[in-house]
């Protein structure tokens, strides 16, 4: 019997008061409290800013967002549902249902940006471009292949790479515009997506590590090898995709650093050590600041170089202070 038909043969009512893994509830709560819709972001305030972009910059932006839409669509309709049959708990399945829906919200958000800022013709052109672009199609195929194959661990690996690595060649651009005080509302919306993807990658990676821990040493070694092979294959393709988009605006080299930085984080979500050394992950500080406003402040008290480490205000601490 296949896993899918096993699921259909019997479903028990989910009891959230009997948890097998409290991480399920923790992540469920995090995801539901992070819930948002694009309507809450005043995208139309970006119209004047959009009009300051050159035709080439506008086309680049629409293409980047179309590429991101494709990844969100894959994750919503194929990726997250493909993880459900292997869920270890009913609560894990519910979290994947949340992830699937939220990815649909993300995909829908790009269309909100388009309808607010762009002409229908330019958007239609970009969707046509996405269907014909070989590197975009190649990355989609590399992921879908793993989603279709009968290897539950590799489904999770592919899913984490999508959530924590593949999006970032695209996310770079709105962070770049934001660092130049352009399309700032659009950037706010993208930051909400970036926050969601972090929780998705973390959770799927956690479930991957749980399942991997039960596998034999040989199997663990084989999965690690497949995972790094897939990452490198995706990386090679991602470099080509990045060049095809960003060469014209001269940003390719810094986008690559952002790819390295995020590839390391994707690996860490799977429990593996970072692959790319610090010398190739030194993303432009203004991009890091656009991502996380304090990220460029060096919280390195030890080196003495930190400009902004926090010495607490030494307030008298009462017990009730800790009732957060």
């Amino acid at each position: 019997m296949t896993t899918a038909s096993k699921r259909l043969s019997r479903v028990d009512a989910i009891n959230w008061n009997r948890l097998q893994d409290d991480k399920d509830l923790e992540v469920w709560n995090r995801l539901t409290s992070n819930f948002w819709l694009p309507e809450k972001v005043p995208l139309s305030n970006d119209i004047p800013s959009w009009n300051t972009l050159t035709t080439q910059e506008q086309q680049l932006t629409i293409r980047v967002f179309t590429g991101l839409t494709l990844l969100d669509t894959i994750q919503s309709s194929v990726g997250a549902p493909a993880l459900m049959p292997d869920a270890r708990t009913p609560h894990e399945e519910a979290v994947y249902a949340n992830i699937a829906f939220m990815e649909a919200v993300h995909a829908r958000s790009y269309s909100s940006i388009f309808s607010t800022l762009c002409t229908t013709r330019n958007v239609d052109d970009a969707f046509r471009w996405s269907e014909e672009n070989p590197t975009l199609q190649a990355k989609s195929e590399l992921i879908l292949e793993r989603y279709r194959a009968d290897d539950p661990l590799m489904r999770k690996v592919a899913s984490v790479f999508l959530e924590s690595f593949l999006f970032y060649s695209g996310f770079y651009l709105p962070m770049y515009w934001s660092s130049h005080a352009k399309l700032s509302n659009t950037a706010d919306l993208i930051r909400l997506i970036i926050r969601d993807e972090a929780v998705h990658g973390y959770y799927i990676g956690y479930k991957f590590q749980q399942a991997l821990a039960e596998a034999s040493a040989e199997r663990q070694a084989a999965v690690k090898e497949y995972a790094f092979e897939l990452l490198l294959e995706l990386y090679d393709n991602e470099v080509k995709y990045t060049e095809s988009l960003y060469d014209a605006v001269g940003l390719t080299e810094d986008v690559k650093k952002f790819l390295h930085y995020n590839a390391n984080k994707a690996l860490m979500n799977l429990g593996y050590e970072a692959l790319f050394p610090a010398s190739v992950t030194d993303v432009d500080p203004t991009i890091m600041a656009a991502l996380s406003p304090s990220a460029d402040e060096n919280h390195d008290f030890f080196s003495g170089s930190g400009s902004s480490y926090v010495i607490g205000r030494a307030v008298a601490t009462e017990d009730e202070d800790w009732a957060f």
Partner: protein, 146 residues
């Protein structure tokens, strides 16, 4: 009368106290440091951890963005103990830049509340560079405190 102190680690040097959820990211970072460290228990019914000497707290941030819930519950319970609070000397926080302004927020909150320096932030398991910097920094920090 002098009493010999059979300690493998100088008494003036503190230790690390850390919390890590089942995902174990923070635990793995701490293990890579190879410094004396004790873990705040995950389970509510476990024997609570009592600090014995000055320590640096290593705390993960529960992501999301708001201050509420950023510091894990077991860490709050640990710091609610007055003896524990009196011995804290600094904070190191784990987090993720994807959470924007809330990156490593738990560290900032604890540092502010306890009046100790926010020493360092790292992401997820921490990179080799993070490990090297923190290992060296913590060791020197205790020498200066002595």
């Amino acid at each position: 009368m002098t009493v010999a102190m059979p300690l493998e680690y100088p008494i003036a040097h503190g230790e690390l106290v850390y919390f890590s959820t089942r995902s174990s990211n923070t635990r793995r970072f701490v293990e890579k440091l190879e410094l004396p460290a004790r873990r705040i228990p995950l389970e509510r019914d476990a024997q609570p951890l009592r600090a014995r000497r000055p320590y640096i707290l290593v705390v993960p941030t529960y992501g999301g963005g708001s201050e509420k819930g950023a510091v894990p519950g077991p860490v709050i319970r640990f710091l609610n103990d007055e003896t524990n609070r009196a011995l804290i000397r600094g904070v190191i926080a784990a987090g993720n830049t994807n959470f924007g302004a809330a990156f490593g927020l738990a560290g900032r909150i604890v540092a502010d509340k306890c009046g100790v320096p926010f020493l360092y932030r790292f992401e997820l398991l921490g990179t080799d560079d993070d490990v090297a910097r923190v290992r060296k920094g913590v060791t020197e920090f205790w020498k200066r405190q002595a």
